[in-house]
Symmetry: C2
Subunit: 438 residues, 2 copies
């Protein structure tokens, strides 16, 4: 098997055991990119020679951090000192930050190398879309705004990549691309050096092709330090299936994915219960949108003043507050989110984990849309950790995932739960890998 | 009178009326810096020729924005593309960001010129202190972490400067230096490009020497758009005097300042009432410190991994979470802050504005401390706008201020209230100006 088809966790073991070099892995990823990226268009910047040089340097050094020798894709709204950072905006072509974003610095220090920058919706917020296509069907969106990162990991161009989520920019593409993704608890991972949209919601996350991949990166960010761990088994696990207040917007494939995941878990011995959230949770999606618009205005005021009409109308409108979001509306949204955060955490007396849709269905056709984040915004604004797990293949032969959600700062626990539920939920993983590798 | 002694609002009028050029103002500020800064040490970077060149450029252009031709000092933990940004850290000497922080871009686009960078406590957080001295008595601290900005405005080296507040880094130096300062509602001003410490609390603010100065900058940031305005008069104003749960830590000068401000307002016709906050507000200071430490850890993890022992022990300790802040402690602090925000806003049915101490007393002696932020952290974590107003001169001949506080997103209203209460509270303003100008 070509090294590019190895999951991050498997590659890390081989690099540690000296049965694989970082250079061989990177070369394999670069070959895969050369083969596939003309169609998928996941990357905005790749410098093969530089990537190989980085890998060679790492191969000379003793294995230190958990990510030693692993390639990472970086969503192009996250700063890198040695590569352009354009935010996919015409206003920032050729922009090159003076230092790495915090998250990039952390993974580099833990041994990763940055393979390149991945395409994103403009400023990870609106405006122009990424050029990236869904690797499972090029006529479909890979989701957004972390379009390139999701597609790059799914198509075996890189084992790991950063995404971000303010509404549903991380978990939704994970579902559309059939991969794993973790959006950690808000505040647990530095967001310095990622373009600001909404400080209340902006969260850095990462994609991989297994739970173990996500856990490796969590180790780099020391998420394990934040909670004491107990062994987890599916048999003793109480799973709350949450259709959310937005169930009407769930299309048949999303409904089927949720039912299938619950059924598989039940068959494996988990206790399944339904979770109906209190009525006020039904306003969380709107609250997330209000806060993003209301904080996005001040965030894009500099671009409006600097660039005027050259700034995409969606950001001009936001900076000009054309929707007339008032302070009272912001305060109401902040307070609702805070209330729901507290209420949601308290529910975890009755169960261990929440199982809920990742997206309304399969990836929509066309690149004019990246799909709706109605099944994500509520969790983002609640600051809870969300972990995307692939589940079924839909009627259009596209992947459809689910997500598991824990209370705030339970990231380490959520990863342990994911490690036991993922093999039950994602029974197509082996097949997916084999097919892609073949 | 030398132009450097003009308040920003007065200078703006003269520039608009063409009775003053930006160049003349800048030259006067530079002369003042040359005279005073060897002692005060407010600045980490000044380039006189570049400052004059910027001013000349502005003098050639028609007056556009509200800040046209006005010099601005920028706290050196806020990015500037054309000047070094060191965060007062030995790890970032010579660092030069590729783009301006959002707040810097906004004031530049509104006509301001950046006069230079001002000294700060390392990363505006801990570690090494600024070299800046209190211009009223060089043996005393000007406060921190916005040490240089506070001292520069107070000593007439610049009419305006940016500070930031995570605990009490903005309002406290305003009090210690006898100047005005606004810490806006959290989220109302972009914090992009300021070194991250605690996303929940970090707030950009600005200093001036009058309420009108602060209002000019608020106009640039469009804070006026966020609330409908009604005329305010002292006679109809209901003022709630809040000793806070930390009153025991108020030294006699702070107690005297609060009593004096209340008495002056009462004599001017305002209705004064006492506000005793519910008992749980007494845990807000601790909550602010917990959140700063708990979010500061992930924020400084990149520096810890990159620089190891070269990073100041205070940040190593934080990134290593040596105080063992748990997720449960974070959640408790978040939820307490959210609860108090909501409770506090609701209190405003009974009064218009809160009057409360800015600091425990006069500026402490020595540069080993910047004083305590116990009278600031609770307001910062509650996200409410705070406006510092000078009030009395203490027994050591140092200024002591008070602050007025409004509910979230009432920044515009708070500025209107400040405009009528400041002339009543700060009756020494004329004397201070005349003395400094003489």
């Amino acid at each position: 098997m070509e090294p590019c088809f190895l999951n991050a966790a498997a590659a890390a073991v081989r690099i540690r055991e000296k049965s694989l070099t970082s250079e061989a892995l990177v070369r394999s990823c670069l070959e895969r990119i050369a083969e596939r990226d003309a169609e998928v268009r996941a990357w905005t910047h790749i410098d093969p020679e530089y990537a190989i040089a980085q890998a060679r340097e790492l191969d000379k050094r003793p294995v230190a951090g958990p990510l030693h020798g692993l390639p990472f894709g970086v969503k192009d709204m996250i700063d890198t000192a040695d590569m352009p950072t354009t935010y996919n905006s015409p206003l920032y072509q050729g922009h090159r930050p003076a230092k790495d974003a915090g998250c990039v610095a952390v993974v580099r220090q833990c041994g990763a190398l940055i393979l390149g920058k991945t395409d994103t919706v403009e400023f990870a917020a609106g405006g122009r879309k990424a050029l990236t296509r869904n690797p499972h069907n090029l006529a479909h969106t890979p989701g957004g705004s972390s379009s390139g990162s999701g597609a790059a990991v799914a198509s075996y161009m890189t084992p790991l990549a950063f995404g971000t989520q303010t509404g549903g920019s991380h978990i939704r593409p994970a579902s559309f691309n059939g991969i794993y993704g973790l959006k950690p608890t808000w505040g647990a991972v530095t967001r310095e050096g990622a373009k600001l949209l909404c400080a209340t919601c902006d969260t850095i996350g990462w994609f991989g092709r297994s739970v173990a991949d996500l856990a490796l990166v969590a180790e780099a960010f020391r998420l394990r330090d934040l909670a004491a761990q107990n062994p987890v088994s599916v048999k003793s696990l109480k799973v709350a299936v949450c259709r959310t207040p937005y169930w009407k917007q769930a299309e048949p494939p999303a409904r089927q994915a949720l039912a299938t995941a619950a059924e598989r878990l039940q068959k494996a011995g988990a206790q399944i219960q339904e979770l109906e959230l209190p009525a006020r949770f039904g306003s969380l999606d709107e609250a997330q949108r209000t806060l993003t618009y209301g904080e996005g205005g001040p965030a894009f005021l500099p671009e409006l003043l600097m660039h005027g009409d050259r700034l995409h109308p969606e950001f001009r409108e936001m900076a000009d507050n054309q929707r007339a979001v008032t302070g009272a509306m912001m305060v109401e949204a902040y307070d609702l989110a805070a209330d729901c955060r507290k209420t949601f955490d308290a529910l975890f007396n009755g169960f261990d984990v929440v199982l809920t849709p990742s997206a309304p269905g399969e990836a929509p056709e066309g690149l004019h849309t990246t799909g709706d984040w109605v099944f994500n915004g509520m969790w983002t604004v609640m600051h809870v950790p969300c972990l995307a797990i692939p589940c079924i293949t839909g009627p259009k032969q596209l992947p459809v995932g689910v997500q598991i959600v824990g209370p705030r700062y339970s990231d380490a626990r959520l990863l342990e739960i994911a490690a036991v539920v993922a093999p039950v939920i994602d029974i197509g993983a082996g097949q997916r890998d084999a097919s892609a590798a073949g």
